[in-house]
C-alpha cells in the first residue's frame, strides 16, 4: 500500500465505516497494545544497536564472506563478510528514524494548509485543491525517485522529497474534516460567541480533525519506510556502506540461489514493522474516531 492517494482512499473508506469510538482505556485495545509492543521492541533494538549488534555493521571481513548462518554469525555474512544480523539491527536505526521523521514536516504543513483551505474556502481553497490534484497525478514512487535524484543523494534529500509529496494527503484529510466540523452547531456557536478564527480552529476544530490526520500518519510512516527501502533497493537511497534494509535486499538478491536468507530476512523485518504500525493505526482509529455522525 504505498501511494498517498491510495492510502488516502483507504483512510477515507475506513473513516466512513468507522465504528463508534471505543470507550475502553487504551491499554485494553488489543490492536494498539500489540502494535505498541512490536514497534516499541523495534525502536528499542534500533536505539540499543551499539549494544545489541555483535559486530561492526560496516566492517568488511573478506575472508569470512558469504558464510551460512552459524554460531559466529547467526544470520550469516554478506559478500563483504559483514555480519547480516548486525546490519539488520543497525538498519533499524536508519529506516525507522527516517520513517518517523519524514512524517513530521508533511503532517504539519499539510494540516495547516488543509485547515486554512477548509476553513476559509474561496479562491485559496480552489488553488490548494488544484495543486493537490496535480500532485496526486504523479505516482508516489515516480515522484520520490525523481526528487531524490534532483535533490542529490543523502538523508536530507529523502526527507525533502517525501515531504514535498505527502503533505497533499494531510491537506486533503484535514480540509475534509474541517468542512464537516464547520457545519457542526458548536462551531457556529463559538463564532457567534465572538471567538476569533484562530481560536475556533485551535479550540473547536483542531482536536477532532487532527486525530484523523494522526491515524493517517501511522499508515504514512509505513509508506515512508516502504519508500526508503525501495530507494535503497534501487540504489538511490542511503549511500553504502551504511546498513539499510532495502540495500541489504539488493545485496542479497545477487545470492538468491545460494543464500536465500540474505534477501528474505530484511523483508520479513519490514513486514513486522509495518504490521506493528498498522496495528497502532487501527487502535488509534478505534480510540480517536468521533461518534458516528448521521
Amino acid at each position: 500500500m504505498s501511494t498517498p492517494s491510495a492510502l488516502l482512499a483507504r483512510h477515507q473508506e475506513k473513516r466512513r465505516a468507522s465504528r463508534p469510538r471505543s470507550l475502553k482505556p487504551w491499554y485494553q485495545n488489543p490492536s494498539l497494545v500489540a502494535g505498541l509492543i512490536v514497534v516499541g521492541a523495534l525502536v528499542l533494538i534500533a536505539v540499543l544497536a551499539p549494544v545489541l549488534a555483535p559486530y561492526d555493521p560496516v566492517k568488511q571481513d573478506l575472508q569470512n564472506a558469504l558464510q551460512d548462518p552459524g554460531a559466529a554469525h547467526w544470520l550469516g555474512t554478506d559478500k563483504y563478510g559483514r555480519d547480516v544480523l548486525s546490519r539488520l539491527i543497525w538498519g533499524a536505526q536508519i529506516d525507522l528514524r527516517i520513517g518517523f521523521l519524514a512524517v513530521l514536516i508533511p503532517f504539519v504543513i499539510g494540516s495547516v494548509v488543509g485547515a486554512l483551505a477548509g476553513y476559509f474556502g474561496g479562491w485559496f481553497d480552489s488553488i490548494v485543491m488544484q495543486i493537490v490534484d496535480i500532485f496526486f497525478a504523479f505516482p508516489f514512487y515516480v515522484m520520490v525517485i525523481v526528487l531524490v535524484f534532483v535533490f542529490g543523494a543523502g538523508e536530507a534529500s529523502i526527507y525533502l522529497a517525501i515531504s514535498a509529496i505527502s503533505w497533499v494527503a494531510y491537506a486533503k484529510i484535514v480540509r475534509g474534516e474541517v468542512l464537516v466540523a464547520k457545519k457542526q452547531d458548536y462551531v457556529a456557536a463559538a463564532r457567534l460567541g465572538g471567538l476569533s478564527h484562530g481560536r475556533v480552529i485551535a479550540r473547536h476544530i483542531g482536536p477532532n480533525v487532527l486525530s484523523q490526520a494522526l491515524i493517517y500518519a501511522m499508515s504514512d510512516v509505513v509508506m515512508d519506510i516502504m519508500a526508503i527501502v525501495t530507494l535503497g533497493y534501487l540504489g538511490l537511497g542511503i549511500a553504502p556502506p551504511t546498513a539499510e534494509w532495502g540495500s541489504m535486499i539488493l545485496d542479497g538478491q545477487e545470492f538468491i540461489t545460494t543464500q536465500w536468507q540474505q534477501a528474505t530476512i530484511p523483508g520479513l523485518v519490514i513486514v513486522v514493522a509495518s504490521l506493528g504500525l498498522s496495528w497502532i493505526g487501527d487502535g488509534l482509529s478505534d480510540l480517536l474516531s468521533p461518534e458516528r455522525r448521521k
Partner: protein, 319 residues
C-alpha cells in the same frame, strides 16, 4: 443511458488544468537541480563547451516563461527532446516502452481481480469465520510487504525452486511476453489485491445483509446467480473507485517491479535515465506516467457511471 455519459467532455475539460500543472511540475524538475542545471546534469563530464551546448539545448539562456512555452510547444508536437545518452528522440524510446508497461499493468489488474473476487466472496459469506480470518491475515501481510521484495520472493519460490517461470526479461514473441510478464504481474497483483479485497469484502458483507438481497432470496434466487446478479453488481461499485485510485499505485509500483524483473518498460527507461542523468528521458517518463494516472481517473468515472445508474456526474457538481 448515454445522456448520462454526457459528462465526459466536461470531465476532460476539468482534467486540462491538471495536465497543464503536471507539465509545469515536469518542466520545473530541471530547475530544482541545485546550481546550474547544465553543470549538475553533466557532472564530471562537463567541459565548458559541453555545458554551453547543453544550456543551448535545454534553452537555459532564455527567460523561464519562454523556456516553458517552448517546452510546452514541443510537447504538443510530440517532441520530448533528445536523449542525452544516445541522441535518439526521447519520444521514440517512450513509445517503445509504453506498450510493455501497459501490458504489464493490464495483466496485473486482471490477476488481482482473479485473486480478489473469490477471496472477498469467501471472506464475506462468513464474517469472522476461519476463512475470513485467513483472508484478513493475507490482506494484512500483503499490505506490509515491500513490492520489490514480493517479486524477489516469487523469483526465489517459483523461478529458482520450482523452475516454472523465468527470473526476468521480456522474451521475443507475444506469447513469450505474457509468459515473462506473469511473475511481475503477479507481484503487482499481490500487492494490489489486499486493498481490493478489503473494499470488496466490506461491500459484499453490506450487500449480503441488504434488503434487496433478501428480496432476491424471497424470489428463490440463491447461489451463484444471486451472487452475480444481485450481490456482486452492487458490491463492485464502491470497489471501482478503490481500484481506480490504486491503479495509480500500480503504475508507480511497475516502475520498481520492472527493475526487479528486468522488463524494458517505462520504469526501466526512467531508472536508466536517472543513472545516466538523462533529464529529457526522466521528464518524459514522469509526464507519461502522470497522464496514465489522469486517464485512469477519467476511465474510473466512466465505468462508475456505467455500473451505477444512480450516479449522474452530468448534473452533480464535483464533490
Amino acid at each position: 443511458m448515454f445522456h448520462r455519459l454526457s459528462f465526459i467532455p466536461g470531465r476532460l475539460l476539468r482534467a486540462l488544468p491538471v495536465i497543464l500543472g503536471v507539465t509545469i511540475v515536469v518542466f520545473l524538475m530541471v530547475h530544482l537541480l541545485p546550481g546550474d542545471p547544465a553543470i549538475a546534469i553533466l557532472g564530471d563530464k562537463g567541459t565548458p563547451q559541453r555545458i554551453a551546448a547543453l544550456r543551448e539545448q535545454l534553452g537555459l539562456n532564455q527567460p523561464l516563461w519562454l523556456q516553458y512555452a517552448t517546452f510546452l510547444g514541443r510537447l504538443l508536437q510530440g517532441n520530448f527532446g533528445t536523449s542525452l545518452v544516445n541522441n535518439r528522440p526521447v519520444a521514440e524510446l517512450v513509445f517503445q516502452a509504453v506498450p510493455v508497461t501497459l501490458t504489464l499493468l493490464l495483466f496485473a489488474l486482471i490477476l488481482s481481480l482473479l485473486i480478489s473476487i473469490p477471496l472477498a466472496a469467501i471472506a464475506a459469506t462468513r464474517p469472522n469465520g476461519g476463512r475470513d480470518l485467513g483472508v484478513r491475515a493475507f490482506t494484512l501481510l500483503g499490505q506490509g510487504m515491500p513490492q520489490f521484495w514480493v517479486g524477489i520472493m516469487l523469483i526465489l519460490l517459483v523461478s529458482v525452486e520450482l523452475r516454472l517461470f523465468p527470473v526476468g526479461g521480456y522474451g521475443m514473441t507475444d506469447a513469450e511476453h505474457l509468459y515473462y510478464l506473469f511473475l511481475p504481474a503477479l507481484t503487482l497483483a499481490i500487492s494490489m489485491a489486499p486493498t481490493i479485497i478489503r473494499s470488496l469484502r466490506a461491500s459484499t458483507i453490506a450487500s449480503l445483509g441488504s434488503d434487496y438481497v433478501a428480496t432476491a432470496r424471497s424470489k428463490g434466487s440463491a447461489g451463484s446467480a444471486l451472487f452475480r446478479q444481485h450481490v456482486l453488481r452492487n458490491a463492485a461499485i464502491p470497489t471501482i473507485s478503490v481500484i481506480g485510485v490504486n491503479l495509480g499505485y500500480l503504475v508507480g509500483g511497475s516502475i520498481v517491479i520492472e527493475r526487479v524483473f528486468a522488463i524494458p518498460g517505462l520504469g526501466s527507461l526512467m531508472l536508466t535515465g536517472i543513472f545516466a542523468r538523462d533529464f529529457p528521458t526522466i521528464q518524459a517518463v514522469a509526464l507519461v506516467v502522470a497522464l496514465f494516472v489522469i486517464i485512469i481517473g477519467i476511465l474510473t468515472d466512466v465505468l462508475y457511471t456505467l455500473l451505477d445508474p444512480r450516479v449522474n456526474f452530468s448534473k452533480e457538481a464535483r464533490a
